[in-house]
């Protein structure tokens, strides 16, 4: 891995099984096996994707629904293992991929801060020290001891973002987290992301709001049905992606 890179994605392909029903019991398995109904329908969500991200860069991923953006981010975060190819990353990763993932919904916000923080790998003392910062940034002072199953999706996003960004990770991964926040929280988040970028954090950003991508990212990658369609300066890629003539195709 090159020293100036934070992320290297080498020929990554990801294959899912799209069979109609999931067979997840012995009973079903035997019945299906007898009837010869154990289908495996391959679906390649990513095809030979390669790119590099330099340390301190901010890269936006754009593309239609189902084009493979979240899949790519999950592979980079190490949650998914690619069917082919490999990914290398340098340093710690603060991932915000799915709303509410990484939380135990029966526990309170307070307990989840410690659980989620531990999951990301933050030490307990640090979480205790910065507990009040986390709560106040998320603006959830009144809900500290409420089980998070009673939270709205925006509140969950606030909490997740606040925990993950309480210290500077080397790589920050944000998948549509901002889209559920209100404008006030979005501004707060953008400000924090910029501060982290100034301190050399690498940012990977997915959003369906092209304005946000242009605003936050220097570079962008357009993923189209699992292939890289275009890669380059954020403005250019976003303009091409938004070009109405392109979309009709």
């Amino acid at each position: 891995m090159k020293i100036e890179n934070a992320i290297e994605v080498n020929d990554v392909s990801m294959c899912f099984n799209l069979s109609r029903e999931k067979v997840d019991s012995i009973k079903e398995y035997i019945i299906k096996a007898i009837k010869h109904q154990l289908f495996y329908e391959e679906f390649w969500a990513l095809n030979d994707v390669s790119f590099e991200v330099r340390k301190g860069d901010s890269v936006g991923l754009v593309g239609m629904n189902g084009s493979g953006k979240s899949t790519m981010l999950k592979i980079i975060a190490g949650v998914l293992k690619p069917t082919k190819g490999s990914v290398e990353t340098a340093g710690t990763i603060a991932p915000m991929i799915e709303l509410g993932a990484g939380f135990d919904h029966d526990l309170t916000a307070r307990e989840n801060i410690f659980l989620n923080g531990a999951l990301i790998g933050y030490p307990r003392e640090m979480l205790e020290d910065r507990f009040n910062n986390i709560i106040s940034f998320a603006g959830l002072e009144r809900f500290v001891d409420v089980p998070i199953k009673n939270f709205s999706s925006g509140m969950l996003a606030r909490l997740g973002f606040s925990i993950a960004t309480i210290v500077d990770a080397d790589i920050l991964i944000i998948d549509e987290i901002l889209s559920v926040g209100d404008y006030q929280f979005q501004n707060k988040c953008k400000k924090r992301i910029r501060e982290m970028m100034d301190r050399n954090t690498t940012v990977l950003f997915v959003s369906h709001s092209i304005e946000q991508v242009k605003e936050i990212c220097k570079k962008a990658i357009w993923i189209d049905q699992g292939h890289i369609r275009m890669m380059g300066e954020a403005e250019e890629v976003c303009d091409a992606y938004e070009d109405p003539n392109e979309k009709v195709k």
């Binding site: 997840d24 029966d106 923080g117 531990a118």
Partner: protein
Amino acid sequence: MSLLSVFVKYRNLISQLVARDIKTKYRRSILGLLWTVLNPLLMMTVLSIVFSYFFSRYGNIDNFPVYLLCGQVIFNFFNESTSIAMGSIVHSGELIKKVYVPKYLFPITKVMSCSVNLLASMIALVIVMAVTRARVTPTVLLAVLPLFYVLMFSTGVSLFLSAVAVSFRDLMHLYSVITTAWMYLTPVIYPMEILDKAPEWVKLIVNLNPMTAFIKIFRCVVLEGVTAPAILHVQSIFWCAVALAIGSLVFRKAQDNFILKI
């Protein structure tokens, strides 16, 4: 990464997961930890009254309450830890979907939190030994060995079950049937002499049963005050090695697909 460095790196997560289990377990009952001590005591009392009468014709088991409790404590730990650990991957989907963590931490922390219960039930054993004025000899210290064996064996079985349960959810219901049968094939309640008239294959199963070896060693050192025959230790170590090898192999092969199935 080596096992040790994983444990050091994730020590915060491990203590969180164990603490969460213990908290959720005791939050619901007012008696809390006391219940963990009382439960085996009550069970033991009832079973002692009934079975010491039934089994009296197989000669006298001296101190039946301690005999029984020794078996119960070991078998219950195995039963509880493996049954709970089995669902650990299936139920931690929300946690696994977010960041990379070594997934074996989930079944292993379940076994760890059940070990806390095991220690609590040791209190019950001490109480019964005191009340029945059982003879305490220095061999009691050797009790750590069978406890270690059952811990390792349960860990291996838990790794295997938690991985397999992701693909076959109904195994979780089936498992209680398996452990019930398993208990009857382990001398938990009955004395070994009861098997004298049993068919050969039953004797064979009971004697090959890893739980039988752990419980026999435990009774030797706690109840009889003698060191256990070496063959029992050989048998125990063999079963622990088999369980850990198969468990970690199956788990390792299956773990990359967990995320696609939960």
